[in-house]
């Protein structure tokens, strides 16, 4: 089947360099062609971070490396990286050049690993997968080659959990989302390894991964390979919440599922949920007048052009908490075949009363054409990427940019997960709606 892509919204396997950049004081070392890193940064980078962007060491493969192999050059760049870059974890990632010519990168890094250096490698040649999939490969590589070495036979720690949620940077709001997820999980009494971003304690936190009592996966499919791997390796069971919980209903549902799975103290969890819901719904109540009475037009149908986790999460939220009805939903993360049925099921019961139509496509041009051909009988809301700007203008829809590329937004700690994320989503959606009036 032809699978070309107009308007790319994700990167290739080497995009997982951002997974490493998201680890506090982690640095990727690319064994790849000269432009790979810059192209990843162009699509999903958010500034340099600590040692991302132009700081990333790279062998910048040339013709000679293709003909004679590039292992010597890699060794030399790794040596330099240890001297020049002040980091806690170095992750060697290969590109197409190295993977096609067959450099033995494992052999090169093994020498440093034997010396006790904090270095890991993963094969991430661009043709191997997209960055949703390679995120799993890189996390598993760090677990196997770094975490495991540092924490042999550790005891399980009661109440400690590892959280795997969205793919850092591919989810533009990863940092804000992870902060909120950590906050609510701590609220119900857990100690949380969030692993990426500001709320993580970096490699020291990663070293405690094997000690977790259980793992939490908040994603439709990315990360399943991580939690399954941890289950095999350390016998850690996992609870799978198959989309991003946004707003009151879904966050509460998420927390109750986790509390039940982890056999947490019910009173503690419920007390936190009550407090949060009270706060959350006090704001919802305030907006109700506006929602019910604003007479000049607010969106009544929505399209999502997002990855599966966001698409399901937002669809449930928009329908049940804001009363906006689903038009067609487009999942653009190249979901592997084996996970599609579960996603379709989520859309089949998007609320107790309703189902929503969903299709899987990676071709933004075809998706936009389909939306343009729809009857626009009332005002629509599009949750998509910066590619949707003209589409939104042309069909007079409101656009909230959730997916990469975000280009028309500057993202700091904004997040849409949880109770706070739900409120933020409401503010952002109606900010755009109200801003259309003169």
């Amino acid at each position: 089947m032809l699978k070309f892509i107009e308007q790319p919204r994700y990167s290739c396997a080497i995009g997982a360099q951002q997974t490493v950049v998201a680890i506090r004081r982690g640095v990727p070392i690319l064994h790849a062609g000269p432009g790979c890193s810059a192209k990843v940064s162009a699509l999903i980078g958010q500034g340099e971070g600590y040692a991302g962007g132009n700081t990333i060491p790279c062998t910048n493969a040339g013709e000679a490396d293709i003909v004679y192999g590039g292992e010597d050059k890699l060794r030399s760049v790794i040596d330099g990286a240890f001297k020049v870059i002040d980091a806690d974890l170095y992750v060697v990632l290969t590109g197409c050049t190295s993977d096609i010519v067959g450099d033995d990168v494992g052999r090169v890094t093994a020498v440093y690993q034997e010396q006790g250096r904090p270095i890991v490698y993963a094969e991430t040649g661009g043709f191997k997968s997209n960055n949703y999939v390679s995120h799993e490969a890189v996390v598993n590589a760090i677990i196997d080659q770094y975490v495991d070495v540092h924490n042999k036979g550790a005891e399980k720690q009661k109440g400690l959990v590892n959280v795997f949620a969205s793919v850092p940077y591919q989810d533009p709001y990863w940092n804000g989302n992870l902060e909120e997820i950590k906050r609510v999980l701590e609220g119900i009494g857990l100690k949380v390894n969030i692993l990426f971003g500001n709320e993580s304690n970096g490699v020291e936190e990663w070293k405690t991964i094997p000690s977790a009592e259980f793992n939490i996966l908040i994603n439709s499919w990315t990360g399943l390979r991580i939690v399954k791997h941890l289950e095999e390796k350390y016998g850690t069971h996992y609870v799978h919440f198959p989309y991003l919980p946004i707003g009151g209903i879904e966050t509460t549902k998420f927390l109750r599922e986790v509390a039940e799975f982890g056999k947490l103290e019910k009173e503690v969890a419920e007390a936190f949920i009550n407090k949060e819901e009270e706060k959350y719904y006090s704001f919802i109540e305030r907006t109700a007048d506006f929602m019910l009475e604003f007479r000049y037009g607010i969106p009544r149908r929505f399209y999502t052009i997002l990855d599966a986790s966001y698409s399901i999460g937002f669809s449930k939220f928009l329908l049940s908490e804001l009363g906006i009805l689903p038009a067609k939903q487009f999942v653009i993360d190249d979901t592997p075949e084996e996970f599609r049925a579960a996603i379709e099921q989520q859309f089949a019961k998007i609320s107790d009363l309703r189902s929503a139509e969903v299709s899987f496509s990676i071709d933004g041009g075809a998706i936009q054409k389909e939306i343009r051909e729809d009857t626009q009988k009332n005002r629509a809301l599009i949750l998509g990427s910066a590619w949707e700007r003209d589409l939104a203008t042309d069909i007079k829809a409101d656009l909230l940019i959730i997916s990469a590329p975000v280009s028309y937004r500057l993202v700091l700690n904004c997040g849409y997960a949880g109770y706070n994320g739900g409120l933020r989503a409401i503010e952002d959606i109606y900010d755009r709606v109200l801003n259309t009036y003169r």
């Binding site: 308007q7 000269p34 810059a38 990843v40 162009a42 700081t55 760049v77 661009g126």
Partner: protein
């Protein structure tokens, strides 16, 4: 002089064609001397950071041809730059009052099985479907490391489809690993245009090709009174307009690093004279450039009038700026010729240039004319520049040098470099519009912006106070060129 050969699909890379290099430490004068004597040798780095590649630079020129589409024959990550260029394209539409459209860019999505069985069938099918979807006037296919190493015969595919579809389907061979000088990608794009789009002239016109990115249309006011019409090439051209750039009266380069290949190609193949003086930066440089323009366009008297009038207008203002900027020190990081131009501009303002990190060096351009050497012009006109480093975006070298030099201001031309000035508390200026510093007015433009930047130290002071530094203390104490040259195990960087 390099011989332009449009019969072969691939352009020769700059290292081979021009003897260009990416590693050098010394003074600007020493570099010029080596280049002229033909003794320039590249230095390699045993540690390096990520750079740019040719494919992005080819795309940069092709992606804003208004009625063409681009197919990037590559894994999806290679197309990570699509939206960035689409953004630039759309900003340009606003500035030109053009309707809002998005760039139509496609990726063939090369996957693992394609690396075993080849991806030419996928490419063919994509071209056909894209043609049906858009009905463009031309399709450019840009290649990738993956498509090249697996040995896809892209040239046969595009040639067959050119016949089948009846529009030019053009291969642009720009895989990243071929060259460590990413501006080779510009050459690839121009080569593909001259090879497959440009036609022999039917007549001579009063058009003047301006080889540029997407800067402001500053050449309108210069050329129209002289009876000539600027034609900005390649971004925002149509395929039909590109067909007859061969009919122009002359070609102007805003930066020979960008346009060296197309300027020479149009002159060699179609006799369109190229203005060979270095671009018009600084008073002396602008005088020289205008005089050559006058000669080529047969408007010498008019040009002398312009020079006289502009001197009278600009020189007194310039004197005021010089007073204010006197004694200030600067450090520059930029692409090659534009960096040389900025040196002229700063020196004209009596700013002391403490050094420069310039992305590569072309000892000669495709026209083979040493008078085009903008760095030689700097050295001859204003004297030598110390700490002249040829350095392809190696931030670690830049940080080390900046930490020592501590200039009053850092001037950058490309993204990703400014941060290092600011993190060290050095006010830093990046100008996006490549025409901003051009000509007499350009000196004043830059002077004004520099004064603003020098005055605004609150932001960088605060940023420096709260910044992290990913470089080791050890490294900041080393000679900045510790990794340059000398590693016998390393082939090429």
């Amino acid at each position: 002089m390099s011989v332009i050969n449009i019969k072969i699909p691939e352009v020769q890379i700059r290292e081979v064609r021009l003897g260009s290099i990416t590693g050098f430490e010394g003074t600007a004068g020493e570099l010029v001397k080596c280049a002229r004597a033909g003794t320039l040798q590249d230095s390699t780095r045993s540690f390096s950071q990520c750079m740019g590649c040719s494919s992005g630079h080819a795309f940069c020129q092709l992606s804003m041809i208004t009625d063409a589409v681009i197919i990037n024959h590559a894994p999806v990550g290679c197309s990570g730059d699509f939206f960035g260029f689409n953004f630039v394209y759309r900003v340009g539409q606003m500035e030109r009052d053009l309707p809002s459209v998005i760039g139509r860019y496609f990726n063939t999505n090369i996957e693992e099985r394609d690396t075993i069985f080849g991806a030419t069938e996928k490419l063919e099918a994509t071209i056909r479907e894209v043609y049906e979807r858009i009905k463009p006037n031309a399709i450019f296919v840009t290649t990738s490391c993956a498509s090249a190493i697996i040995g896809d015969d892209v040239e046969s595919v595009v040639n067959d489809l050119t016949i089948e579809l009846g529009i030019p389907v053009v291969g642009c061979y720009c895989e990243g690993f071929r060259s460590k000088i990413w501006t080779t990608g510009f050459d690839s794009a121009y080569h593909s245009i001259v090879r497959k789009i440009v036609k022999p002239p039917r007549k001579k016109t009063n058009k003047v090709n301006i080889i540029n990115f997407w800067g402001a249309h500053i050449f309108d006011d210069l050329l129209r009174p002289l009876g000539y019409e600027p034609s900005y090439v390649v971004p925002f051209s149509t395929v039909a307009e590109l067909e007859y750039i061969s009919e122009a009266a002359a070609t102007i380069q805003i930066c020979p690093t960008l346009g060296t290949y197309i300027g020479a190609a149009l002159e060699q193949i179609y006799g369109v004279p190229e203005i060979k003086a270095p671009p018009a930066y600084g008073i002396a440089g602008t005088d020289k450039w205008l005089r050559e323009l006058g000669k080529v366009l047969d408007r010498q008297e008019e040009v002398e009038e312009i020079i006289k009038k502009e001197h009278a207008r600009v020189l007194p203002l310039l004197e005021e700026y010089r007073e204010k900027l006197k004694g200030k020190t600067a450090y520059i990081t930029a692409g090659a010729a534009h960096g040389h131009s900025l040196i002229a501009l700063l020196r004209e303002l009596d700013i002391s240039v403490k050094g420069a990190a310039i992305f590569h060096h072309d000892p000669i351009y495709d026209n083979g004319d040493p008078t085009s050497d903008a760095l030689a012009h700097d050295v001859n006109t204003y004297g030598d520049v110390p700490n002249f480093n040829v350095c392809n975006k190696q931030a670690y070298e830049l940080v080390n040098i900046l930490n020592r030099v501590r200039p009053d201001i850092m001037i950058a031309r490309h993204g990703g470099m400014t941060l290092w000035g600011a993190k060290l508390g050095v006010p830093t200026l990046l100008i996006g519009d490549e025409h901003f510093g051009f000509g007499y007015q350009g000196i004043l433009n830059y002077a004004e912006r520099m004064l603003e930047t020098l005055d605004n130290t609150e932001f960088v002071t605060n940023l420096a106070k709260h910044s992290s530094m990913p470089y080791t203390k050890w490294w900041l104490e080393q000679n900045p060129f510790s990794f340059l040259g000398g590693n016998a195990h390393v082939e090429v960087y």
